[in-house]
């Protein structure tokens, strides 16, 4: 009984420690990397058996008519890495990609809507944290104004200036080029403001992915 209570206390102290120092959680990613590598392959094999020929044709069609391309300064056309969403989860989804993307690169759909950030790369199996569940802070642009966008615990918070008025609740937020040094057009975040969260931070709800095809933009 005493030993069990000791372990319960130990766990709560560890949980407090990892919440105080959030970046210490990365150690779990690196320790379990080899096992994750193996089991992500198993999951891909398991899920690829369930894809019917019907939906596979549709996916190939959308990949061929991909509108997003990156133009380098040397004017050489390079297509960017893309992938198909395999499984959807509460906080993240896994993608089978054609090339190995970098960690922390942006994930967008075919209409250039921002979906999330890459948080784990296991060869061509990529794990993506959904927008809101990460710990990123970045600047966006709304009607010509620079605003701070923050992710916290599944919410997307946008800091608007005081006495800001918008006609419709539907809002497009441009994420300007300095986040994406190479892309031609800037990435969008489409959605609506739900309510005021605290101070000048407003709760933002973005649209979800309708197509299983996603693209990776490396910074």
């Amino acid at each position: 009984m005493k030993k069990k209570l000791f372990f319960l206390n130990l766990f709560i102290i560890l949980a407090i420690f990892f919440n105080l120092i959030k970046s210490a959680e990365n150690i779990f990613y690196w320790i379990s990397y080899p096992v994750d590598f193996l089991f992500s392959k198993v999951q891909q094999k398991f899920l690829s058996a369930g894809i019917s020929a019907d939906s596979f044709d549709k996916i190939l069609e959308t990949i061929e008519s991909s509108p997003i391309r990156v133009v380098d300064t040397m004017e050489i056309k390079l297509s960017i890495p893309y992938g198909i969403i395999m499984s959807d989860d509460l906080t993240s989804f896994t993608v089978a990609a054609n090339k190995k993307p970098k960690l922390n690169s942006l994930v967008i759909d075919e209409n250039a809507n921002l979906l999330g950030f890459v948080c784990g790369v296991f060869s061509n199996r990529v794990e993506v944290k959904k927008l809101g569940y990460g710990k990123n802070e970045f600047f966006g642009e709304i009607e010509g104004l620079d605003v701070l966008i923050k992710e916290s615990e599944g919410n997307i918070l946008v800091e608007l200036p005081e006495n800001f008025t918008f006609e419709s609740t539907q809002v497009y937020i441009n994420i300007p080029k300095y986040l994406l040094s190479v892309s031609e057009s800037s990435t969008l975040m489409t959605g609506e403001f739900v309510s005021q969260y605290y101070a000048n931070f407003f709760l933002f709800r973005s649209k979800k992915a309708s197509n299983p095809v996603v693209y990776f933009l490396e910074e």
Binding site: F7, A15, F28, S32, D36, Q43, D89
Partner: protein, 137 residues
């Protein structure tokens, strides 16, 4: 020998957490199986709680985050262990121990199909070899 065994238990917790992260909601969660087997093999409290701590930290850090849900899972493990240690090992305690842990993990990932797969598997496994472990031949 004792240290080596607890090291092996920690490694098995890491492997189990990784399986649950990728295949848990698709097929079946492996952690409740290991917990039931460790309980029936009469391991001492230290090893079983090292297993629980390592598993909870790795699974919740890699899939969600170490928050209130992780603490709640560990408290559930603690309460199950405390409550069921008073009873003798039999089919119903094994099933109850399994289903309480499995239901919480499945509830978090919205995958009740794998919950029923696990219930069927544990009831087959009990009559295959878990009964022999507890009662001998």
């Amino acid at each position: 020998m004792n240290i080596l065994l607890s090291f092996l238990v920690a490694v098995s917790a890491i492997v189990s957490s990784s399986w649950d992260k990728w295949m848990g909601s698709q097929l079946v969660f492996s952690m409740p199986f290991l917990a039931v087997y460790f309980k029936h093999l009469d391991m001492n409290d230290e090893k079983r709680f090292i297993f629980a701590i390592v598993y909870t930290l790795f699974y919740f850090a890699n899939r969600y985050d170490i928050g209130f849900m992780a603490i709640l899972f560990f408290v559930l493990y603690f309460l199950c262990d405390l409550f069921l240690s008073k009873f003798k090992h039999n089919f119903w305690t094994a099933l109850l121990y399994f289903s309480m842990l499995s239901f919480y993990l499945n509830f978090l990932s919205f995958s009740f199909f794998s919950f029923f797969t696990g219930i069927i598997l544990i009831s087959i496994l009990y009559f295959l070899n878990l009964r022999l472990i507890t009662h001998g031949r």
